[in-house]
């Protein structure tokens, strides 16, 4: 595992099921991946994974929490009809329009392959094809009669999409769940970068659970850690032909640093200064309120935590073809590692308001 290439690591990560609330398996994988690079790795009662990496011996080291979420959006079985077709609901934000014709895996007693059926155009009126199909009108076909389905599948079983990683041109990759397994890859890359640097901090790399349903893993993990500084790594919107220019980011200009009330002013400035000092290309995203990431929970935990947010531009977020520039994973890790290395013993003097 030790010198696994980033692309292979991400390919492995996205292949393991881990819908919000059901992260046990992906947590095990990540825990194993963290072990070679951390002094300690532990998992809590909700399967948040904590990898601790520390280098300083000073009394006054900042405790830094860096979070990326490992849960993915998916579906859940709500019913099995008399013909053996499976009805379902969503876990996290799933656009029903991505579902027709999708291949899925149902995690019952065993893993069952299925397809979300799409009525062929021959059998539809033209006007019907103009309206999006609702999730409650869709079913999953597993090719078995009802009694066999019921032996294997129960209401409440989770369903993940089948969408293995594909390499596109220009160093771009496409897969499901790059939100935020790519962020988890950044955590691992940062550990590797830190192995080459001296730093003075007690760093906890946290793969959080249940971000997609309300940043829940971040709430409880931050409470457990009581960090001095918090960093969230998540994805942000990459530029797409049909999206407004001023709300999306180029795919080849580096990671995105967020600015706004959810982020600590001085700490964010330090991150930006670090990027400039090391010639790391980056962009600025302005967020007017609590962000849709773990940062929103981290900042207001207990006595408050100065927080920053780094985003990887991602096209087609929350589809099975999320698309990312691999180089940004490396750049984000370089930025983070240098940022951590820049924290000295006087960290709490410049950090106060």
């Amino acid at each position: 595992m030790r010198y696994m290439d980033t692309k292979d690591f991400i390919a492995r990560l996205v292949a393991v099921p881990g819908v919000s609330g059901y992260e046990e398996e992906i947590a095990r994988l990540i825990s194993e991946a963290f072990k070679p690079y951390c002094q300690e790795v532990r998992t809590d009662n909700f399967f948040n994974v904590y990898g601790r990496k520390t280098d300083g011996h000073s009394e006054n080291m900042p405790k830094v929490m860096i979070a990326a979420h490992m849960d993915e959006i998916g579906l859940m079985v709500t019913d099995i009809d008399e013909k053996g077709f499976i009805k379902f609901t969503n876990i996290g934000g799933v656009d029903p329009r991505i579902l027709l014709g999708q291949e899925v895996e149902i995690h019952g007693k065993e893993k069952l392959f299925g397809v979300i059926g799409a009525k062929p155009p021959h059998l539809q009126q033209v006007r019907d094809t103009r309206k999006a199909v609702k999730m409650e009108d869709m079913t999953i076909d597993v090719g078995l009669p009802a009694d066999r389905v019921r032996e294997q599948v129960n209401v409440g079983d989770t369903i993940t999409f089948v969408s293995p990683l594909v390499e596109l041109k220009g160093g771009m990759i496409s897969a499901k769940s790059l939100d935020d397994r790519a962020g988890v890859a950044v955590l691992l890359e940062t550990m590797k970068e830190l192995d080459e640097l001296r730093f003075c901090a007690d760093v906890y790399f946290v793969a959080t659970v249940q971000e997609e349903v309300g940043v829940r893993g971040a709430v409880i993990s931050t409470y457990q850690l009581t960090p001095d500084i918090g960093v969230a790594i998540d994805v942000t919107h990459g530029d797409m032909p049909d999206a407004p220019r001023d709300e999306t980011f180029a795919m080849n200009k580096g990671p995105v640093i967020s600015v706004g009330p959810n982020m600590h002013l001085c700490l964010t400035q330090k991150l930006i200064d670090t990027a400039k000092e090391y010639g790391i290309a980056h962009m600025i995203e302005v967020e007017p309120g609590p962000t849709g990431t773990d940062a929103r929970a981290i900042q207001i935990s207990r006595w408050g935590v100065p927080t920053v947010l780094i985003g990887l531009p991602l096209r087609y977020m929350h589809t099975t073809v999320e698309t990312l520039n691999l180089d940004n994973v490396k750049q984000a890790a370089r930025l983070l590692a240098r940022f951590i290395a820049s924290l000295k013993e006087d960290w709490n003097q410049w950090l106060s308001y």
Partner: protein
Amino acid sequence: MKELLKKLTEAYGPSGNEEVIRDIIRDEIKDYVDEIRVDTLGNLIAVKKGNGVKVMLAAHMDQIGFMVTHIDDNGFLRFTRIGGISVGNSINRRVVFKNGVTGVVSYDGDVDRLSDIKLDKMYIDIGASNREEAEKEVAIGDVAVYYSPFTENNGKYVSMAMDDRVGCALLIETARRLKSSPHEIYFVFTVQEELGVRGAKTSAYALNPDIGIAVDVTGTGDTPKARPMAVKLGGGPAIKVKDALVLAHPRVKELMVKRAKELGIPYQMEILDAGGTDAGAIHLTREGIPSGVLSIPCRYVHSDSEMVDAGDIENGVKLMLKILEGEIDIF
């Protein structure tokens, strides 16, 4: 159970005004527990001491209601909602205040279609001729609840406030029948759940249990042309998988299923798309508390006539007892 449920559902206790129902519950449970106290927000916390796992059971005492915001010159009362009061469930219903004053809820006459009615176009009529007369009986801030008697038919109980007096009844009955348990069990009757699971948040913080199980109602999918939902009345207590506020902890859910199977009772797995319970607040407290929900299937939730099945309640009590009497070895 029927008598207890009747007493509890007919009692006054809208969110923020739980004094009456709290006293009744305290009276019902006091002989079966070691200590009782009431906290800052008004949660009733009763404990049966033990050395094992610290278990927090939660059922909310509060019900939805109508709060008076204004009394007009002609003695009509304007109101706002306490919890999930809907227009459809309120039109021309009878309501009653804590002091016994009754009234009728209706809407402004200049409305064309029922679907246009919003809460601020509705009023309560207590039959007063003018403001002075009305002010003798009610004040701004007073809260009314549905006026709705408890009835039974075909083994189904119907009343207002089954949500969540049925949960309270289940906990009281559990405390009464519990012979022995290795665990330390907190029976928490929470306040203000209908306003956003508020009481559960602070009581869970204070107790910091090892595991939390909320007992509340859930909807069903077994009425004509109902929105699809696998739960039905009479299908047994429901073990929650997910709702809007919580994904039941897999270990807690598995434990509940295991005990239900050992008992041989009917049970159902429950997914509720909209709506949440006290478990939503409990599980995110402090360092995170593995939590689940034991749900009682209920038709017509948040109306004045919520319907539950007697067998589901009895099996729910049995399931809870089995969980408490056995090992709780989730980690």
